[in-house]
């Protein structure tokens, strides 16, 4: 048993490939037989992944889900930023340039609104729960943009660590909700063409949420959503600790 464990940890990435392959297979079976294909296998696989992340987090007390379990550290490499970005870029090979160009302007508009609107929601919620100073409101608002913008902003403004933790959790919850909810909401928000996928990516912002959600809805839309979403975190980190912070400070003093 011990030897098997050490072999699995030594071959972390290979173990991760086998594990994720198994998750995909189980999910596709569930999709076919339990839901008759109505719920996409990828959506079930992402849900199972999130479930395993919860189990891993409870087991180890760490913050990297299943990747904190020693046998499954390879999941951290396979699903980490390096391979994720590599694979996202690869999806651009199938982008239809005409479609992408046509959605350029509206994608930009979505990007702007997708930064400001969740920020307002986050800041207002913070205020109504008693976090009424400008720094805390801005940090929580930034967390509602993405879970990277939150801590970057909080660190820049010198926010309390518990407020930063809350802002990260808000961003992660948003990412999880987008991953899980997109396939179900796709029809009602008109998410069925490259143009709306670019709007969606610009609005939702969270790269993990957007790409996960689109993968579970229609993999063909992934590159379009990713194309706009990837600018979101940078834009958020740019305006949250500056423009948006000054606005909040002017409003609440």
């Amino acid at each position: 048993m011990h030897e098997i464990q050490s072999i699995l940890s030594k071959h972390g990435l290979v173990t991760a490939f086998a594990l994720v392959g198994a998750i995909m297979w189980v999910s596709n079976q569930l999709s076919r037989h339990l839901t008759r294909g109505r719920i996409h296998g990828s959506a079930i696989a992402i849900l199972l992944g999130l479930g395993l992340a919860y189990v891993g987090g409870v087991m180890t007390g760490g913050d990297k889900g299943l990747a904190d379990v020693s046998v499954f550290t390879g999941v951290g490499l396979m699903g980490g930023a390096m391979l994720r970005d590599f694979a996202i870029v690869a999806t651009a090979f199938e982008v239809n340039v005409v479609e992408a160009r046509r959605a350029g302007l509206v994608g930009l508009l979505a990007l702007g609104m997708g930064t400001v609107l969740p920020f307002i929601v986050g800041a207002l919620v913070a205020w109504s729960f008693g976090y009424s100073d400008a720094v805390s409101m801005t940090t929580l608002g930034a967390g509602a943009i993405t879970y990277i913008v939150g801590p970057v902003t909080g660190a820049a403004l010198g926010a309390n660590s518990d407020v930063i933790a809350l802002s990260i959790a808000t961003g992660v919850l948003k990412a999880v909700l987008v991953m899980v909810g997109t396939p179900f909401a796709a029809k009602s928000i008109g998410l069925d063409n490259p143009r709306s996928a670019m709007v969606f990516g610009g609005f939702m912002g969270t790269v993990s949420g957007v790409t996960g959600g689109l993968a579970a809805t229609d993999p063909k839309l992934v590159p379009y959503g990713a194309l706009t979403a990837t600018f979101h975190t940078g834009l958020g980190c740019l305006v949250a600790p500056s423009l948006l912070y000054f606005t909040v400070r002017a409003l609440v003093g």
Partner: protein, 133 residues
């Protein structure tokens, strides 16, 4: 050769990330600004250039497409390492702010993707026909 495709993808990714990093620095932001997006644009341009010169060999294609096809499993691995415990235990502030922000963004998506949509359904060009930049 397949490795040419993988290397092309790697090159685009690296150049994109470096440019995103430089852009972030120029703007005074502690983050990579659109590095992946820039890399995607570079790869699109590279494909167009290869198609025009008839240099898009099956090897290059399979080297890039392999990674594009691995995308969903990678997303599953990504989901498996999210800090779900923190998201679940964050308490009411996190739940209200997270759900609120998501719902507002979803409504915004619905509005924007319907507003300026061309009145006639857009013709669907196939990828093969868009070889002009």
């Amino acid at each position: 050769m397949t490795i040419y495709g993988v290397a092309l993808l790697a090159l685009c990714t690296l150049v994109g990330v470096v440019l995103g990093e430089l852009l972030g620095e120029a703007l005074g932001v502690k983050a990579n600004v659109g590095g992946v997006g820039i890399a995607m644009v570079l790869l699109i341009l590279a494909r167009l250039a290869l198609v025009r010169r008839e240099g898009l060999s099956p090897g290059i294609k399979s080297g890039v497409e392999f990674w594009a096809h691995l995308y969903i499993p990678i997303v599953v691995a990504m989901a498996a390492q999210q800090n779900v415990v923190a998201a679940v235990r964050g308490g009411p502030v996190v739940i209200v702010a997270g759900v609120g922000a998501t719902v507002v963004c979803a409504c915004g998506t619905a509005l924007l993707s319907r507003l300026g949509r061309p009145s006639s359904p857009t013709p669907r060009e196939s990828i093969a026909t868009d070889s002009h930049p």
